[in-house]
Symmetry: D2
Subunit: 324 residues, 4 copies
């Protein structure tokens, strides 16, 4: 393999730039030509492709977002779109791809390989940590710390006013951000999509706290919670408990996607970028590079797409014990 | 004056603890006995009052929230409530009060003085910076920096995805947080309650940016904006511009109230706490301590309550120039 | 076991409070009485021991340092000192100990068990990450992020002035903080005690950078580096390269020990605190609770004390590739 | 005036980029051509000059350091150097300059005007806040907050170990950073170059603290303190007090120069950049733009160079009261 390209796709995540840097510097180190594609599959179709050098990735390791930009492409989901993308890659002589993104990205790469034989190795870039095949995804640690900083700030107000706060964090299908930020933030309860927490249990927890003179409480809710979003849940509870209690809802929103990546995310992203590149050089295809138990592993896209990533029972148990 | 008490009231603000510390340490320094009242007027009525020493305020200068807690009290707005409060102060022998809060707090203090002759000197504690009689209120600088950090994070995503973000910050009647965080965050437009920004102007700004290849934009909106809140404004715009543009709304919410106070807020709070205490010792009453042009001044409560605090024309002009 | 005590010992580390909280709340959950000992073995000798409840550890999960304070005790290293300590524990009826600290602490605990049969389970609290038996120690992740923030700041100046900076980080016998903060900070070179980096190699790296128009460089040095400390190394280099290059040295020092713990450290500390407590309840003794490959394990003190914890070859290789 | 240039000179300071941005965007807004000069006077001599547009300063408002780089130039201090610089400016048709820097920079600009009639308006860019003619310099607020964060971290360790910490902050001739970070950080004592603090007073303060059971203390020392630097002072004290007390010294160093600018610094820098530009357009020369009592003022370079900027007596008094 003499010439490869790298791109980012799907929602941006802190650490994507550190990952791009590792792919580019790794390629330079190994004597391979490396190109960047802007805006994911959309740029691949439009030929928004440019050569990169070691210097192209100077001073980006600490930046959030992605210098290659990201976009979702409906066109790539059509055979015509992929044909155009293939033409562009041919034009630039690109023989292999490193894709930084999630399952949507990997699904596209699989179709593309089946049709045109251009191999892709993936790196897991998403704050949700919902990808099978790696202990952590790029951006997750930063997102958890961002959510945690917000929880720490809100607890100041909760304590000062004897309030209950319902804090909604990101995670449509996954409670990872909720459970980690909740434990670290000292939440009284964490509600995640993986496990049903009935409203009655929430009320019981609150009442038990009141009986022990706890005047304020933090409840962290993942956006994909089955009982509804934070506003709906707080209203259900308000309807069932006495009305003097001051309850507030806050949705953290998009701040969780951005920001300066943590040390953990920069190192993970560097390892996975280099791992994806070296995998591609060694003939891997249709696999995602991941770190499991501190070892680099390659997991087929069909497994990362198909297999669930269960949340730790231990962590769920810990929330209960620590809020005693 | 031999014995005074200090309390916090209204919404909590970062730096309130530094202010309490200055009142207490100042009292100790001047040989005056000092008491703390928990939960503002509500604790005054219930007698939740305790003696404080230099040690009571150790290691709090850096903490958000208020160790004295805060609450709004409907009872104090009744003559009966104030009578109970007066009885409690008599019981503890308290001759004067330092009240850290906003106009609601100062209105109560004025009534109380008229009826019982117990003097209060105020310190302006609110993140909104909407109090006449001081250049800045305690908590404002921290709130602006918190909003700014959020804007910095969101810009990562806006840039990576070529998106327009509408960011709603706090400020029901005041655009101070919006204008300062907007300028510092490089926003394309800032919408504040003090000045009407018609939707047509927003659209023009966006279009002018697109014509100059600006692919992402940040619009900061104060919650009290006349054209509606961030969601309503974004919907009005979406209805009028072509639909491919990706627009998102995010409401920063309660994170703006909490957090570790900045250096500026801790110093301001210390100056105002000491200034309020020494004013009280020198016979001031029904006034708020403030810093105007770097000098300590006392402004009558009737003026802080009545007079508006206009936003700087210069800053509004700057947003326009800097987003060229 | 009906009654246990917890203490912190050796250098303080961010996350120790989260660990104390998990021990205390875990004990309350399991119906065991729990005491705190202030200032480690020194407080054990002096009887500075007090009962703790769930409430004693409210609102500490986010605080750096240790509410139980820490100290080194020469007296406990004598048989007389340990006899006094034993007497005190008898007086309070304490049957087992959770010790949060490092190898010095664990050595003392082993002697104490041999003489008096009081079992101790340890939790690894040290920023250096130099303990065998756990992938990470409590405080390490926070220390790395603190060092990284400093490196990010210094790079601003290095870039603005075309300078070389030698940054000394903590780690007397261990290069863990250096290697992780160096990779994450985009350092051109990292010097660690585990591997000799000859001065000639440093000079070569700098020259190779200059030949590729790199105008600024960051070299991260662990304090235990064999070639000397940062100042000595910079002087050796200055003597051998042309004099126009602007070189500066900065020693990060004590800021690396303190600060608000990261999410990672709070969760790790919670797991290890609970793990140590439940180990003690289940009859473990003279072992340290650790997390290896995401599983809770107990390692005998004799192994944590004796066995080295090698630095990852992979990470050392990555520094070289990423600074291409 | 049709064509101007902007440059940064002297030590870098957070907010310089926001200032450059304001100069460039202001010029675009007013229809003036604007050039950037790299590495201050050194780049002026070498012709390292390039045209800038609104786009050149996108996404830099939040970055530390200076995109125009900075350097000290001995050559510009010679008539020959200035002659070369003048030739380059002629070549590019540059009629006026905005210089972001300190007194060294302004001295050069004055000489240059006397010889060649090219007017310069300055903006005060230095973390030390030691320039007459403005309440605050660009970078000062960020430096104070950086020093404060470090003090907050160190206090965790000081408290946990009952230690005295001597913390040296920047400020060769000025105690501004020391006094502000000291008050905000709750220091027991602050030592500044403007006022002699005899060692005997330091010892008295420490002893008085011990008598009130204060077990830890923070003493903040400006690097230009007359009694010596932090290490020397700590040794003088160690020689005079009993030896069990654990004393540590830490020098914050270069981290104080870098980092993401605070909201205050970004707004100040924007106002001063725009103020300097518009001053230049209106015929000002050999003056520095400053903000005094929230108003834009222009002060002649001869005054900013000659006149001292005294430290506030009020703040010095506050340290004493607050550490009671």
């Amino acid at each position: 393999m003499k010439r490869i390209a790298v791109f980012t796709s799907g929602g941006d995540a802190p650490g994507m730039n550190a990952c791009i840097r590792a792919v580019v510097r790794g390629a330079v180190y190994h004597g391979i030509e490396v190109f960047g594609i802007r805006r994911g599959y959309s740029g691949m179709i439009n030929g928004d492709i440019f050569q990169m050098s070691s210097h192209s990735v100077s001073n980006i390791v600490q930046r959030g977002g992605t210098i290659l930009k990201s976009a979702r492409s409906k066109e790539f989901m059509t055979p015509e779109g992929r044909a155009k993308a293939h033409e562009q890659l041919l034009k630039f002589g690109i023989e292999g791809l490193v894709a930084i993104g999630g399952n949507g990205t990997f699904t596209g790469a699989t179709l593309f390989y089946d049709e045109y034989g251009i191999p892709t190795v993936g790196a897991p870039g998403t704050i949700d940590n919902d990808l099978y095949g790696t202990d952590h995804t790029i951006g997750f640690d930063t997102a958890v710390n961002t959510a945690l900083e917000a929880i720490d700030k809100i607890r100041d107000t909760a304590d000062s006013h004897d309030r209950i706060f319902f804090i909604e964090v990101m995670g449509r299908d996954s409670g990872y951000i909720a459970i980690q930020s909740g434990i670290a933030g000292g939440a009284e309860l964490v509600m995640v999509p993986e496990v049903l927490t009935p409203i009655s249990e929430v009320i019981e927890t609150l009442k038990s706290g009141w009986s022990r003179q706890k005047s304020s409480s933090i409840i962290v809710i993942a956006e994909g919670e089955e009982e509804g979003n934070a506003t709906e849940i707080s209203e259900k509870i308000r309807a069932q408990v006495h009305s003097e209690v001051d309850m507030r809802v806050t949705t953290l929103g998009h701040i969780q996607r951005g920001g300066i990546p943590t040390a953990y995310d920069r190192i993970l992203a560097s390892r996975l970028g280099l791992g994806a590149l070296e995998g591609l050089m060694n003939g891997e295809k249709n696999v995602m590079a991941g770190i499991v138990n501190n070892e680099l592993v390659y997991t087929p896209f069909r497994d990362t797409i198909r297999l669930p990533k269960p949340i730790s029972e231990d962590l769920l148990r810990m929330v209960k014990i620590l809020s005693v």
